[in-house]
């Protein structure tokens, strides 16, 4: 009798444990799948002051909701996508959009269409190495068109001026974020080889465009 009860208890315990492990594995499977192909949010750091005391000549522009860019279109590489606004990640780098199909506008920088450098980033690939939204921006050439649509519906037309690829440590950050000679739009994504130690690619491609 006691042996039968013990046997039944052991059976229930085994069933429960197998059930738990199966559910946990299913959870891990779903999490990794979603994170790798669709949703990969980056935790952002503290808010920053707008660039006013850094000595740069970039004008400080307070964006109203209607001025905020919401859509990016680059016909020559078949990009037509939503724009998220992003800040700064925990590491002090520009944050990235929360998925592989949208792009991110740096909200502490310049508003597109205003004199200064508006910056938009986008992923080059997802967690399975498949193409993401900015996979082909290195194919852009001077003269190619880029269109931005603001929340108000207003459309801005930019023209590619230059495309450069730099080692990650050599990206000219001042030129990228604070050059203020024209109304500029700079696109950036990863390039080069994966560095496992850094958990990132070792180069960056930057597309410099100016308002047409």
């Amino acid at each position: 009798m006691a042996s039968a009860v013990r046997h039944s208890m052991r059976g229930r315990l085994l069933t429960g444990m197998v059930g738990l492990v199966t559910l946990a594995a299913a959870g891990v499977f779903l999490f990794v799948l979603v994170h790798a192909v669709w949703y990969a949010p980056e935790e952002e750091g503290a808010a920053v002051a707008p660039p006013s005391s850094s000595g740069s000549s970039t004008p400080t522009v307070i964006a109203s909701a209607k001025d905020v860019p919401v859509r990016l279109s680059i016909p020559s590489i078949n990009v037509d996508t939503n724009i998220q606004d992003v800040g700064i990640g925990k590491t002090g780098n520009m944050a990235v959009p929360s998925n592989y199909t949208d792009v991110g506008w740096y909200r502490y920088g310049t508003l597109p269409g205003v004199v200064g450098s508006a910056v938009i980033d986008g992923h080059v690939d997802n967690g399975f190495g498949l193409d993401a939204v900015f996979k082909h921006i290195s194919d852009l050439k001077p003269g190619d068109d880029i269109y931005l649509q603001a929340q108000s519906g207003e459309e801005l037309h930019f023209v590619v001026e230059d495309v450069e690829t730099y080692a990650a440590a050599d990206v000219p950050l001042q030129e990228l974020f604070t050059r203020a000679d024209k109304a500029r739009l700079n696109l950036i994504t990863c390039a080069g080889q994966w560095e496992p130690d850094q958990d990132a690619y070792d180069h960056r491609t930057v597309v410099y465009a100016v308002l047409a």
Partner: protein
């Protein structure tokens, strides 16, 4: 008394170090020019595939266990 004084000094030094570290880390974030974004995840492909495969095997084994059990019952 000496012990208390030493403890106080160490405590003050630690607090000062934390404060300096806090200010330093805050300064990293509070800049108008951030670092370059990390806009790629392709290098995680192998890890992701291995984790997915192991998780899938465990799920299949678990489902097989329960199917077998209900068939026996």
């Amino acid at each position: 008394m000496t012990f208390l004084k030493k403890t106080f000094q160490i405590g003050t030094a630690t607090l000062l170090a934390w404060t300096v570290a806090g200010i330093a880390s805050a300064q990293v974030v509070a800049t108008s020019t951030p670092g370059t974004p990390d806009t790629g995840a392709g290098g995680e492909m192998v890890t992701n595939l291995v984790v997915l495969a192991i998780a899938a095997i465990i799920v299949v084994a678990g489902v097989a266990f329960f199917s077998n059990r209900s068939a026996k019952a």
